[in-house]
């Protein structure tokens, strides 16, 4: 949509940034696509699960997604939890008046298809749309859950990294001198720690978990960014508008975050999409090496490593590769548009 100059001047600053963002069609559509995918993946349990949403069995309703029912409820032999993909149970709950509403995909990330016709890993079939992995788990289900986990992991990691990086960089740049000197030396020492070895050591001491990974990667992730923020603050701290703010009586915090930070955000935003995609890649490669998340967790890296082990099972590597590349490309397009949108000189 095109706005004339008068309309633009009447808009609030945020509205105008939004107009500039929309001008970049590619980034705008990427944002939509990415948001929709992320939104859908939040409902992964309803879309891809091995339990039906509702079962109507002998005139009463059951909600297996929320409650666990023993198999005996549906006329089975065991008192343990029901396997709704068991052909016998499936038969029981769908014959006659009974009916069951299954999710679109009948598997969740850890459910194993015990009733597959082919040995694992099995190629795509009617039962498993994208085949199964070497333990008989549905690939599509693992991709959906894996995508959600990767993106959330990356967003959290990036947010922590950006906050820490901005904080450290702005303190260094704004106060400069001795503070800058000391923090800079600390960063040099800290950045010379071998990150990968630390990860391996910690993986053997503690039980691997997502939380531990976030903590470890955050400890090192902020340093690259703080350098850029520091440089921008050093450049900006003596500019006239900062002096003007100081003479108005604005406090240090006010100057740092209201005057300097908005003018120092370009490098932060420039690196934002690369940081998010970098975090996704980091998680993937750690999983690929077996240093990442615990084994049962859905993970793109683990799928890739299975693809390497079973080189002729093309559905493993090809699908994972597509999801990974698609996500990274979308993020980079969004980042580009975001950068242009925040540049007020673009009108």
């Amino acid at each position: 949509m095109n706005y004339n100059a008068e309309q633009l001047t009447n808009m609030s600053p945020n509205m105008r940034a939004w107009v500039r963002f929309k001008k970049n069609r590619r980034g705008y559509y990427s944002l939509w696509l990415f948001s929709i995918l992320l939104f859908i993946s939040f409902f992964a349990e309803v879309i891809s699960n091995d339990k039906p949403l509702i079962v109507y069995y002998q005139h009463s309703y059951y909600f297996p997604l929320w409650n666990e029912y023993p198999e005996t409820t549906f006329g089975g032999d065991f008192v343990s939890g029901t396997d709704y993909n068991d052909p016998y149970i499936k038969d029981k709950i769908t014959q006659g008046d009974n009916w069951a509403l299954y999710p679109l995909n009948h598997y969740n990330y850890s459910s194993i298809n015990y009733f597959a016709d082919l040995p694992n890993p099995a190629p795509p079939s009617e039962q498993n749309v994208l085949g199964t992995d070497d333990r008989g788990r549905d690939v599509l289900a693992r991709l959906i859950y894996g995508f959600r986990l990767s993106v959330l992991f990356a967003l959290v990691l990036t947010a922590i990294g950006v906050i820490l990086g901005i904080l450290m960089g702005s303190i260094q740049g704004y106060f400069a001198g001795r503070v800058d000197l000391v923090v800079q030396r600390l960063i040099e020492i800290w950045s010379s720690m071998p990150e990968l070895y630390l990860l391996i050591i910690f993986a053997s001491i503690f039980k691997p978990s997502i939380g531990l990974l976030i903590v470890l990667l955050s400890l090192f992730g902020w340093m690259g960014l703080s350098d850029y923020v520091r440089a921008e603050f050093l450049r900006g701290r003596n500019l006239d508008y900062v002096q003007a703010a100081r003479s108005l009586g604005v406090s240090n915090i006010g100057i740092m975050f209201k005057h300097l930070l908005p003018n120092s955000m370009v490098p932060v935003l420039t690196f934002l999409p690369f940081r998010i995609s970098g975090a996704i890649l980091a998680l993937t490669s750690l999983d690929y090496l077996g240093l990442g998340v615990p084994p049962s967790t859905p993970s793109l890296g683990e799928l890739l490593s299975q693809g390497k082990e079973n080189i002729d099972a093309w559905w493993l590597s090809l699908t994972t590769f597509t999801v990974l590349v698609g996500t990274l490309v979308l993020l980079i397009f969004i980042g580009e548009a975001l950068r242009e949108a925040l540049d007020t000189r673009r009108g």
Binding site: L248, G249, N263
Partner: protein, 546 residues
């Protein structure tokens, strides 16, 4: 084409291609320059005068520029028709150029000797030894002491004036027939400016060159040029002999330009009347030294005495002008008085001693003394809207106001400085220099301060805008009884607005007194020099020696 004409520009139009499309920056201009004469192109920024000069040597990016129409005839030959190798033979040889900024127009990685010999090696085919001899002669000619000693110096070892002399030596190396000087002295101090201009004039006679000078300074043009072209928006609106045009300007724009020279806007008796007002600000025995340290253990290498034992006072409603050349410590003094810089000495403001207050104690007082900076482009945060910029001080010093009440005050302040009310949501980059300076003034006036420090508030502005801003400042002073500390190097501006003047040099006061007294009967030699240099009240035949 007359016989002695050396440069003839016929119907020249220049376009630039920008992302938004072709922009026509020079429109169908004509002028003729005769050899041995000086022609000045005057106009405000953006009028196309530099573009015209650069077109002569075709120094624009070939991919972005389009000479859509016209010819540039240099001794009858069309420069626009030459190919790249032919034009190179003209550049620096037949026509050479001096740029505005001597700090950046010399290459810092080569010695000045290398840079002066370069055109000789290229155009004259001299060997190194001969070129060096010639370069030493040239350096002597432009008034460099001990040329042999300076030959191997790097540009950073030289002062601004010396660098500009080196630039001239470079430009004259091949004895050009036409010299283009693009604001050759704008970046220099007034006393140096005069020396350089007199030198150029002397050399012009010696080499019988034609000079095309670009300037925005009408006094300078009046003194040093014979012909003048007045440019506005890419057009030449009027041209002719300097004397004729200055006496009888025809075009309204020329009249406006000549009119906009600052003239005294303070009535005669006012300085006397102000003597009974109480002192608002005073500084006693002010010192501010900067130490230069180097090495790992921060060893003290030297001390720069920026402010060296200065006493001053400022009365309510008064304007005190602080004048001096760059490095005289005038800006530092201003910043010291407002506690923006560490310094020693007693400062009283409005009966409170402020030099001993801690920053937190000082903050509520800051409302009373404010600053307006020189460069309106860097003094407004580019990512804040006008409402945020102007309203920021209100948030701090009038926290009781709500958003709607603040907006009312912001609108009032904007109207007061002569801006529209509906610009609240816009960003600084959408405004011209003059408008931005008005915004910067609105930002401080809204706090109703008792004192405003004006640090070269008009130096970055065009002359016509300059006068408007000075008038605005004067109106505000009368309405709100504000005191001004007016720091500037421009004596014409200070003559217009100051009640009293303080002349500074190397951190010390040279002379203080009433404005008119200092301008008519200066007591100190340095003040006299400064006045002569900035007002061009020189005898044409007398050369100021270096």
């Amino acid at each position: 084409m007359t016989k002695s004409s050396i440069l003839e520009i016929k119907n020249l139009s220049v376009d630039f291609s920008t992302p938004a499309g072709q922009v026509n920056v020079v429109r169908d201009i004509n002028f003729t320059l005769e050899s041995g004469r000086t022609m000045a192109l005057v106009g405000e920024s953006g009028s196309g005068k530099s573009v015209t000069a650069m077109s002569i040597l075709r120094l624009h990016d070939e991919q972005k520029v389009n000479y859509s129409k016209g010819d540039i005839l240099f001794k009858g030959k069309n420069l626009l028709g030459l190919d790249e190798t032919e034009i190179k033979r003209v550049r620096g040889n037949k026509i050479s150029m001096i740029f505005q900024e001597p700090m950046t127009s010399l290459n810092p990685t080569f010695t000045v000797g290398d840079q002066i010999t370069e055109p000789l090696l290229i155009h004259r085919g001299m060997n190194r030894l001969k070129a060096k001899q010639r370069a030493l002669q040239l350096m002597d000619l432009v008034g460099i002491h001990e040329p042999a000693h300076r030959f191997d110096a790097y540009p950073h070892l030289l002062s601004g004036g010396q660098r500009q002399r080196m630039m001239i030596a470079m430009a004259l190396a091949c004895e050009p027939e036409l010299l283009i000087a693009d604001e050759p002295t704008t970046a220099l101090d007034v006393t140096v400016q005069l020396q350089i201009l007199l030198l150029l004039e002397k050399l012009q006679k010696e080499f019988s060159m034609a000079v095309l000078m670009i300037s925005h300074d009408l006094n300078l043009v009046k003194r040093f040029a014979q012909q003048v072209c007045v440019m506005q928006d890419g057009n030449i609106v009027e041209q002719g002999d300097v004397e004729h045009i200055y006496k009888q300007p025809q075009h309204p724009y020329t009249i406006q330009l000549l009119d906009s020279e600052p003239e005294r806007i303070i009535p005669d008796g006012e300085t006397m009347a102000l003597q009974h007002n109480r002192e608002l600000l005073s500084g006693k025995n002010m010192f501010c030294y900067f130490t230069v340290k180097s090495g790992f253990f921060r060893k003290l290498v030297s001390t720069v005495k920026a402010v060296d034992d200065i006493n001053l006072f400022l009365r309510e409603g008064e304007t005190l002008g602080i004048v001096g050349e760059s490095g005289s410590g005038k800006s530092t003094l201003g910043r010291c008085l407002l506690r923006m810089e560490h310094c020693r000495g007693e400062i009283h403001f409005d009966q409170t001693r402020i030099d001993e207050l801690k920053n937190a104690q000082l903050r509520p007082l800051r409302k009373e003394f404010q600053i307006v900076f020189q460069d309106p482009y860097s003094s407004l945060s580019p990512r804040m809207t006008i409402e945020q910029i102007v309203g920021e001080g209100l948030k701090i010093h009038f926290p009781q106001l709500n958003k709607a009440e603040r907006r009312v005050k912001i609108k009032k302040a904007l109207t007061e400085v002569g801006l529209e009310e509906d610009i609240l949501w816009r960003y600084p980059h959408e405004f011209s220099g003059g408008q931005r300076q008005r915004i910067a003034i609105a930002r401080v006036v809204i706090l109703e301060p008792k004192l405003i420090l004006l640090d070269e508030p008009t130096s970055a502005l065009d002359v016509s805008v300059q006068k408007q801003v000075l008038t605005l400042l004067r109106e505000l002073q009368q309405r709100h009884k504000i005191s001004y500390l007016f720091i500037t190097h421009d004596l014409k501006v200070i003559e217009a607005v100051a009640h009293r003047i303080m002349v500074m040099k190397e951190g010390r006061i040279i002379e203080v007194g009433e404005t008119q007294k200092i301008f008519t009967t200066p007591e100190k030699e340095y003040t006299r020099q400064l006045l002569t240099a900035s007002l061009f009240k020189t005898d044409e035949n007398k050369l100021v020696t270096v």
